[in-house]
């Protein structure tokens, strides 16, 4: 019996999405096979990692990752420049956390100014994220989209409860858009349909099926991502073909494993390595399940995942 490589070919294709501008622009997606199986399909773009920064001091981040940025995190422009120039970030994700009613409730106008300031300070592509407050994001992201007009940013996240205004703003100002639903392939599909019914091009969408940290429901995210990929490739379902984003950092850097000191849990080993490894392994498993764009926090975790990605392509 001789071995024949068991290849599978698909009719579907993951849509390629570009963001940013000029020579710093990036592309994600475009593959015609399951993650990294280039023996049977095309993998034109490798997963991209964006560094997360916030528009306010990251008081809610644990020390391991907060201390990395302690000299720069007082000001989003300084922080963004640090990521681009010192950490060699390929993309930056600016989270407008201070617009959340519980985190300062800053206005949409304030947020728009921050976006403008950051955009004029860095050249790498920008992802602009709201505070994940359904009502507030509806106004904040509209102002942010306008402020970032002509910069080909990724705006997010549009959810079932607020997608209409955010979609309209992304459409008007020519941005890419993250559509987020909660760990359910059918909800992800439904939201993508609703958004495209508004005239938004599906080739400008990015799906966020909701991330989860290792040990805290990672298996759900992992399987929803695999199922979205299979639906897009094997069943050629056009609503399931946008690239996938994994918002890893915000889920990882709040769980006990990245926060609890070794004194409190001696069985878990050193806190710093544990936290970095937690973000690294969560992100690694996300790219294996089909994630095209990762949003992460710790530079050492980013470095390790980039090393693994370069081994995978």
């Amino acid at each position: 019996m001789s071995f024949v490589v068991p290849k599978e070919s698909f009719n579907g294709k993951v849509l390629a999405v570009d963001f940013g501008k000029d020579d710093k622009a990036l592309a994600i997606g475009g593959e015609t096979c399951l993650p990294f199986l280039s023996f049977e399909g095309e993998v034109p773009n490798k997963p991209v990692i964006a560094y997360e920064i916030q528009d306010c001091a990251p008081d809610d981040w644990p020390d391991t990752v907060k201390n990395v940025y302690k000299e720069v995190s007082g000001d989003p422009v300084t922080w963004a420049k640090y990521c681009q120039n010192e950490l060699k970030a390929k993309a930056i994700a600016l989270r407008l956390a201070s617009t959340h009613p519980d985190r300062g409730d800053r206005s949409a106008e304030d947020a728009a100014k921050t976006v403008k300031d950051v955009l004029s300070a860095v050249q790498v592509p920008l992802i602009i994220l709201g505070s994940n407050h359904i009502e507030k994001d509806a106004s904040v992201l509209v102002a942010a989209a306008q402020a970032a007009s002509a910069n080909n940013c990724i705006i997010g996240k549009a959810q079932e409860g607020n997608y209409k205004t955010i979609v309209a703003a992304a459409l008007a100002h020519n941005h890419k858009l993250i559509a987020m639903s909660e760990l359910d392939i059918n909800l992800a599909k439904q939201l993508n349909i609703l958004i495209t019914q508004m005239g938004f091009d599906k080739a400008k969408l990015i799906t966020d099926p909701m991330c989860a940290a290792l040990g805290y429901g990672l298996e759900y995210t992992y399987s929803v991502m695999e199922r979205i990929r299979l639906a897009g490739l094997a069943q050629n379902d056009p609503t399931m073909q946008p690239p996938i984003v994994g918002d890893v950092g915000m889920y990882v850097w709040k769980i006990k494993e990245t926060v609890a000191s070794e004194t409190d849990v001696p069985d878990w080993g050193t806190l710093e390595d544990r936290g970095i490894a937690w973000e690294t392994v969560t992100a690694t498993s996300m790219v294996l399940a089909g994630t095209n764009l990762l949003i992460m926090r710790h530079p050492k975790a980013v470095e390790n995942v980039e090393k693994t990605i370069s081994e995978l392509v």
Binding site: M1, S2, F3, V4, V5, P6, E8, P35, F36, L37, S38, F39, D60, D102, L214, G215, Y216, G217, L218, E219, Y220, Y222, S223, E226, R227, L230, K254, I255, K256, E257, V259, D267, W268, G269, T270, D273, R274, I276, A277, W278, T280, V281, T284, S285, L288, A289, K300, A301, N304, V305, K307, T308, E311, L312, V313
Partner: protein
């Protein structure tokens, strides 16, 4: 090809004698079709039927036990490519490789670390399962001594004898034969000698070749020499090779019934940087490896890899559950907030995590609702006012509290009236609908 339950039923004695442990021959046939039982459980089946069934019912990926004793690891027998289709069956073994030319102290230290690596996570006991001892000294006497030392210091760990020198391997295998070490490895050059050692000592054997063509030929050769329990090493080193080779191996076995690759896989993932090694190990864990061999272990690394393995090998149909009890978070005094939720592990993790984030010491009652989340448990009639009241009363928690106040998840605010009736003397407060609002809620109460 696999037979259907009905096809198998036709080959059985149809006596419904129950000796196989199933109520009827048909029930037994159905279980056989799912590869959930072995044909040998039927004492009356004809030799002819056994031969037909044996060929057809052998699982597409061979299953056997790595190591001995109650910490031995079952491997192989996987049935799907993706975990949402059906549960991944046998969680991979995690192993560490050590070289025999280390000092006795260093060898002992690692072996003891492995022996003490067991931790409890969500009710499961997880550990580093195996130690690979690599022949690096060039002295078979030193190798045998190192193997014996490690075996003695880690009495429950499975052993992998990483030695391509047949002479040195033979002596070491004999010394620990009772532990059924996995012999690494047979290559095209030494296959006969290694197969003889494995056969004489009843040990499983790794077949190692460069690429899947050569590997298929090698496993056929070894099988021809009488070895059934084979582990595959395709020579995959980079993350890409691990993903591609392991995918092709599993596909060939499951979808093409290609027997020469129907065995568990071993991957060596050694890297200089320990966190990067954890990342490559997670590639192997996610992508079908049955034994993942590391160059170093540590408590944080064990925890992160155990967690990934546990996550990916959970049954997608059965929710993970935590124990029903009243958990203390921080050091709650008598006047600390007292909240309740259900025992779906994810619900528990998220709620307890947010309570911790609030830094307000609290008590959290976790009620057994068969692993359902709050709203689902309520809809299924498992998280009702009377059941909650019974749980709270039987827990005796009232004695520990200065004010009898229970904070209910906002999703089930509808229960508050009925609960006030059933829990006499208690104040029922409706908490936030979403866990991420808990810190604000608790801090607001505290101030």
């Amino acid at each position: 090809m696999a037979l259907t339950g009905v096809q198998i039923f036709k080959l059985l004695p149809k006596t419904n004698c129950k000796k196989c442990g199933f109520p009827t021959c048909l029930a037994f046939a159905m279980k056989l079709a799912q590869a959930g039982v072995d044909i040998s459980a039927c004492p009356d089946v004809s030799e002819e039927a056994k031969a037909t069934l044996g060929a057809a019912s052998a699982p597409p990926i061979r299953s056997f036990i790595l190591g001995t004793g109650d910490k031995a690891v079952k491997m192989g027998a996987e049935t799907v490519m993706f975990r949402h289709e059906k549960k991944f069956v046998n969680p991979c073994a995690i192993a560490i490789n050590i070289k025999d030319d280390l000092s006795e102290d260093a060898l002992s230290k690692t072996a003891v670390e492995v022996a003490a690596s067991e931790i409890d996570r969500v009710g499961q006991k997880l550990r580093v399962d195996a130690i690979s001892i690599e022949y690096a000294s060039g002295s078979s006497a030193k190798y045998e001594a190192a193997v014996k030392l490690v075996a003695a210091k880690a009495p429950n760990a499975a052993l992998i004898l990483n030695c391509k020198d047949a002479g040195a391997a033979e002596a070491a295998v004999k010394a620990v034969a009772a532990r059924k070490p996995l012999i690494y490895c047979a290559t095209d050059g030494n296959a006969e000698a290694m197969a003889n050692i494995a056969k004489a000592n009843g040990c499983p054997l790794v077949a190692c070749a460069d690429g899947l063509d050569a590997l298929s030929a090698l496993t056929e050769k070894i099988k021809g020499l009488g070895i059934e329990d084979i582990v595959l090493d395709s020579g995959a080193k980079t993350a890409k090779e691990i993903v591609e080779h392991n995918t092709q191996i599993r596909r060939a076995a499951l979808k093409k019934s290609f027997k020469p690759l129907g065995y568990p896989v071993i991957n060596f993932v050694m890297r200089d940087d320990s966190i990067h090694e954890a990342s490559i190990a997670s590639v192997a864990i996610a992508k079908y490896s049955s034994i993942v061999v590391l160059s170093s272990i540590s408590k944080w690394k064990d925890l992160v890899l155990f967690s990934l393995r546990q996550n990916l090998y959970t049954d997608p149909q059965v929710p993970m559950q935590v124990e029903q009890k009243i958990y203390e978070i921080g050091e709650p005094k008598a006047d600390a907030p007292f909240m309740i939720t259900t025992n779906f592990s994810l619900t528990y993790f998220i709620v307890s995590g947010e309570i911790e984030n609030s830094k307000v010491p609290s008590r959290l009652a976790v009620m057994d609702c068969e692993g359902l989340s709050v709203l689902t448990a309520w809809a299924a009639g498992k998280f009702t006012a009377s059941k909650i009241a019974q749980f709270i009363i039987e827990s005796g928690i009232a004695d520990k509290l200065s004010t009898k106040e229970l904070i209910l998840p906002g999703q089930v605010a509808i229960l508050s009236g009925a609960l006030e009736d059933k829990l006499e003397g208690w104040k029922i407060t409706v908490g936030p609908r979403e866990a991420n609002a808990i810190p604000t809620f608790l801090k607001g109460r505290a101030s």
